[in-house]
């Protein structure tokens, strides 16, 4: 079965719900005290993992669309990508407001002193650029350069799990799992890319021999 644009509407509606539900869950657990007496670290970690989970889902879209020949799925990438940005923004907002308590001088110091924050900050700057250029008007204006810019999402995918791994005191298993997942998803693309370039070379050879 091919998914149609009608299906797409409902799929997107479900995606919105799935992406927003954890925010409600977070608010409830903080208000009820289930997140602990001082849930600052919990909130920062939760929103950060939220961004990473959404990023993993985002990177699964293209392989899934190819595998099941559902090209229309590609149209959900913008929505999911913007949720990555939204969760990353909440993550950084929580860090600045709840942990640093808006001491901006500290923010600069921390970015310089904590290398993992620098890594996260670079990833976030890229996400800002990608989110702004996700507007259709801008996308049209940018032409081919749009795709070039948006390939930087792969750098984000590499930086974010490094940022996670580097930030923890000793609990490296969870970030390690994410690093493996991301490597897997990127490797999938490399092999697809290889196959594509092989087909191109074959085509070229065919053409030149004719």
């Amino acid at each position: 079965m091919r998914l149609t644009s009608k299906h797409l509407f409902w799929l997107k509606a479900v995606m919105h719900l799935v992406a927003l539900w954890p925010i409600g869950y977070l608010v409830l657990s903080v208000v009820s005290g289930d997140a602990g007496g001082d849930p600052v670290q919990y909130i920062i970690h939760y929103t950060g993992v939220g961004a990473l989970n959404t990023l993993v889902i985002l990177l699964m879209i293209s392989p899934l669309a190819r595998r099941f020949k559902q090209g229309i799925l590609i149209q959900t990438r913008r929505l999911i990508g913007l949720y990555v940005f939204a969760y990353a923004s909440l993550h950084i907002l929580a860090f600045i407001s709840l942990d640093l308590l808006f001491e901006w001088s500290l923010l600069l110091q921390e970015i310089l002193k904590r290398p993992y924050i620098l890594v996260g900050a670079v990833a976030y700057l890229i996400l800002i650029a990608l989110s702004i250029t996700s507007l259709k008007v801008i996308r049209k204006k940018m032409g081919r350069r749009w795709q070039q810019l948006h390939n930087w999402v792969y750098l984000v995918a590499i930086l974010v799990p490094i940022h996670f791994y580097w930030s923890v005191k000793s609990e490296v298993i969870e970030p390690s799992i994410y690093i493996l997942i991301i490597i897997g998803l990127l490797a999938l693309r490399l092999s697809i890319g290889k196959k594509l370039s092989q087909t191109f070379t074959r085509l070229r050879l065919k053409l030149s021999s004719q």
Binding site: V40, S170, Y178
Partner: protein
């Protein structure tokens, strides 16, 4: 629910009220209902690790009054006197008890800050056995009652500065470590004191699963030099806020060394060993570049991955009421302990 109660209800509802149009088969299947916590956890936005570990945070249904089925560790009042000698160091109001007992680093019960309060309520502290041995004249074995009654208990309020750059103000109840060591009689050539936490993977899920325990080699061990241990500031706490400690704070007995980062203040101690060499310490074993043996609070020596110049003080009020304050050398206890380190390069011996 009791059977009588159920019967009573049935008698009450001879006829189903009009709104109760659901058949039994319409309601949630029992296995789904009983498994709701796990199901809801999986619906929540958890990290990859949390999905693998069955011991994540409380389920969302706790929000709707299911709390009564959770057991709570019972704490009892401790008779004590007041010691206000160190109060001049305090630079803020007491941290509320509710925050002190729900925001803990105790990886034996999980690495999340609320995990210990969640997972430690069934922890057994009585019977307990604390052994003091090694280079002592009279090795001691103390049971639970000894811990609570052998020494006169006093209340002292101390700053607690975590290496993660947050801090609290905690009213501990306990006795000086020196009293305990004097009772055992420390031999003259002793140089260090080693401490060890209980090893009981059945009770401490973090010791069972590496995912929950954060990769520490258990049992957790800590150590002090003999001079640090004999300093009047070094304290054995058996209570806080006038009551016995809850498990998440290190029941039944823990160390409190307020001029050092929190991880030195080892919890739920079963063994104290007097030695003539420096003992291994858990965080130092795990990452010696980041955590030294001394671990004195020092705003001028940063953790390799973050600054130690300031700290987030956890006090009263909501999320936004916390304050950033400057961290003080030796956490403000320089007058009591600075001379222990004269001649020592604290940037090297961090």
């Amino acid at each position: 629910m009791l059977e009588e109660e159920l019967k009573g209800r049935n008698m009450h509802f001879h006829k189903k009220p009009s709104w109760d149009k659901f058949k039994d088969s319409d309601v949630t299947p029992e296995e789904v209902f009983n498994d709701r916590r796990r199901i809801l956890k999986q619906m929540g936005f958890l990290g990859a690790g949390a999905l693998l570990s069955s011991n994540a945070n409380a389920g969302i249904f706790d929000l709707f009054g299911n709390k009564k089925e959770k057991q709570t560790f019972l704490r009892s009042d401790l008779p004590h006197t007041q010691n206000t000698e160190y109060d001049s160091v305090l630079n803020g109001a007491l941290t509320p008890e509710s925050k002190i007992i729900t925001h803990n680093n105790f990886y034996e019960f999980g690495t999340g800050k609320s995990d210990p309060a969640e997972n430690a309520q069934g922890f057994k502290v009585d019977p307990w056995k604390l052994v003091i041995d090694g280079l002592v004249d009279n090795p001691l074995t103390l049971d639970y009652d000894d811990l609570m009654k052998l020494f006169a208990l006093e209340e002292r309020t101390h700053l607690l500065r975590c290496v993660e750059a947050w801090s609290m103000v905690v009213p501990w109840v306990g006795f000086p470590l020196a009293s305990l060591l004097k009772k055992a009689g420390v031999k003259s050539h002793a140089t260090h004191v080693a401490f060890e936490t209980l090893f009981d993977p059945e009770q401490m899920p973090g010791q069972k699963s590496r995912l929950m325990g954060g990769g520490i080699h258990y049992p957790y061990v800590e150590g002090l030099t003999i001079n640090e241990a004999m300093n009047p500031l070094s304290f054995m706490a058996v209570g806080l806020y006038g009551k016995t400690l809850p498990p998440q704070n290190g029941a039944p007995i823990r160390l409190v060394v307020p001029w050092k980062y929190g991880f030195k203040s080892i919890k739920s101690i079963v063994r104290i060993r007097v030695m003539d060499k420096q003992p291994p310490t858990s965080w130092n074993q795990l990452a010696s570049r980041e955590y030294g043996f001394y671990a004195n609070v020092n705003p001028n020596v940063d953790h390799p991955r973050w600054s130690q110049a300031t700290e987030r003080r956890i006090g009263e009020g909501g999320l936004f009421s916390a304050k950033r304050i400057n961290t003080q050398m030796f956490n403000g206890y320089g007058e009591q302990v600075a001379d222990l380190y004269s001649g020592l390069d604290l940037t090297r011996h961090f």
